[in-house]
């Protein structure tokens, strides 16, 4: 097992919102935070990600209400930006047939640590793109796009979330850059072992109770998939039907969310792993009853943590509003840093950022009045 040493900061939170990007810069104790921004005010920013290989390069997935989707790149930690010369785009369809159009770039993942300059992007509708030049050009991954099953895996518009189907959670096995996982809403979890030439579903054991067959091969609504960097045979997912854990050595997904309190349930969007402990996972449950309000159950927001791989869960709400707080936290909007103890962070659709410097034991609001928050990433930029 690889050993991951705790980092020492300072931490910068990269905040992607419906109206631009902001940077929240923490002090060494992660107690005081200063906000900088906006960057790209008015742009719809779906994801803002630091390249951990150089800790200077930032990539931003953006569009505006009028203009098409693109990717902006910064080589100096956000001081200056340059647009990709060839943003993600589907192939032109033959004359007379309807081709796919990228509505927005939803997800950005840096490639394997041994592949400098490689990035992956997931789009809405579901498409997979790979850049080998640091995010300047984005050829499509043909093995996924042209796979004979891809139209069935990704479904149609009726199978998609309200703002379009999404390809997300692109995860590279730290032992092998050719072994890649991804997830889709809708579609489920898929993997390749040959760097994207062929793909197969990986959903056995996972429910999709909104379909006639509740255990289909694909068609699940995976909200967030995570692979543990220290134990890459262990994956977790939060999906529309619960919280699941998969140990590849054992074979099928196991619903660990059934051990959550019944009155809270195990529906939600984000899921965060402890970078040094494969048994520890945080989630932020949403109300998935009746008409799926997708807010904190009972108006009482809380994170939940398991430290035993899902056998038991503890509520973490100290410092969060005790009542009448109907928060929604989107799938990219909760994250952890890599310090000791772990710092946890989440952003809400009502524009608040909450932080805990002690693994969720105590929370405080560190920013408010921002636009709707889509994504939060914890970064440690090079000095």
């Amino acid at each position: 097992m690889t050993t991951i040493t705790p980092t020492t900061g300072p931490v910068t939170l990269l905040i992607a919102t419906r109206k631009g990007a902001w940077f929240l810069k923490g002090d060494s104790g992660r107690r005081r935070w200063e906000i900088e921004g906006p960057a790209f005010l008015g742009h719809i920013v779906h994801h803002l990600v630091l390249d951990p290989r150089d800790r200077r390069t930032l990539l931003m997935a953006a569009r505006t209400g009028h203009l098409g989707p693109t990717v902006f790149r910064s080589a100096d930690g956000g001081q200056s930006w340059k647009e990709a010369s060839r943003p993600p785009a589907f192939p032109k369809a033959p004359e007379g047939s309807k081709g796919r159009v990228v509505d927005h770039v939803f997800w950005l993942s840096p490639g394997h640590p041994g592949e400098a300059g490689v990035w992956y992007a997931g789009t809405s509708p579901q498409g997979l793109f790979r850049s080998e030049d640091g995010g300047d050009s984005w050829p499509i991954v043909e093995g996924f796009e042209d796979h004979p099953m891809r139209p069935q895996w990704t479904g149609g518009e009726q199978d998609a979330p309200p703002d379009g189907g999404k390809l997300h959670s692109i995860l590279i096995d730290p032992r092998d850059p050719a072994h890649i996982y991804l997830a889709m809403s809708c579609g489920g979890v898929f993997e390749t072992v040959d760097k994207g030439r062929d793909w197969r579903p990986l959903n056995a054991g996972c429910r999709a109770d909104f379909l006639p067959d509740p255990y289909p091969e694909f068609g699940h609504d995976t909200h967030r998939l995570a692979l543990h960097p220290q134990a890459p045979d262990i994956l977790y997912q939060q999906n529309h039907c619960g919280i699941y854990r998969l140990d590849r050595r054992q074979g099928t997904w196991v619903r660990i969310g059934e051990n959550m309190p019944q009155e809270v349930g195990d529906f939600g969007f984000p899921l965060v792993l402890h970078p040094r402990d494969p048994q520890t996972v945080w989630v932020f449950p949403m109300d998935g009853t009746e008409v799926w309000p997708r807010v904190s159950p009972g108006g009482k927001p809380a994170a939940y943590v398991t430290r035993d791989a899902g056998q038991t869960w503890q509520r973490l709400d100290r410092g969060l509003p005790p009542a009448q707080a109907w928060l929604t936290v989107k799938r990219q909007a909760m994250t952890a840093d890599a310090q000791d103890p772990i710092g946890l962070y989440f952003g809400t659709t009502c524009g608040e950022v909450w932080a805990s410097p002690d693994e969720g034991a105590h929370w405080s609001c560190i920013a408010r009045h921002l636009p709707e928050i889509y994504a939060v990433e914890a970064a440690e930029l090079a000095p």
């Binding site: 505006t64 009028h66 203009l67 098409g68 785009a89 032109k92 369809a93 081709g99 796919r100 990228v102």
Partner: protein
């Protein structure tokens, strides 16, 4: 010919509201614009060569939907941002 550029696209034109470009059709004009101001075309025209939903192109105050529409050197082209919600 003169091409009037809306504010969302002026980051590409050095904040110029009106620029010069050439082409015998709207498609050629957009290709020339993209050569002069790299990246500007894809923000207006999608990968299937359709005008994006909240963009409109007018030639001499007449809306054009076909990128093959012919142009003359004296024409004026306006690119407009259509309304979109808050």
């Amino acid at each position: 010919m003169k091409v009037f550029v809306p504010t969302p696209l002026r980051s590409y034109t050095g904040q110029q509201a009106c620029v010069e470009a050439q082409g015998a059709t709207v498609a050629e004009l957009l290709a020339d614009l993209d050569w002069r101001y790299p990246g500007i075309r894809f923000r207006m025209i999608d990968e299937q060569d359709a005008v994006r939903p909240h963009i409109r192109i007018f030639v001499n105050a007449e809306q054009v939907r076909d990128l093959g529409a012919p142009l003359r050197p004296a024409d004026e082209v306006q690119i407009l941002q259509a309304l979109s919600g808050g």
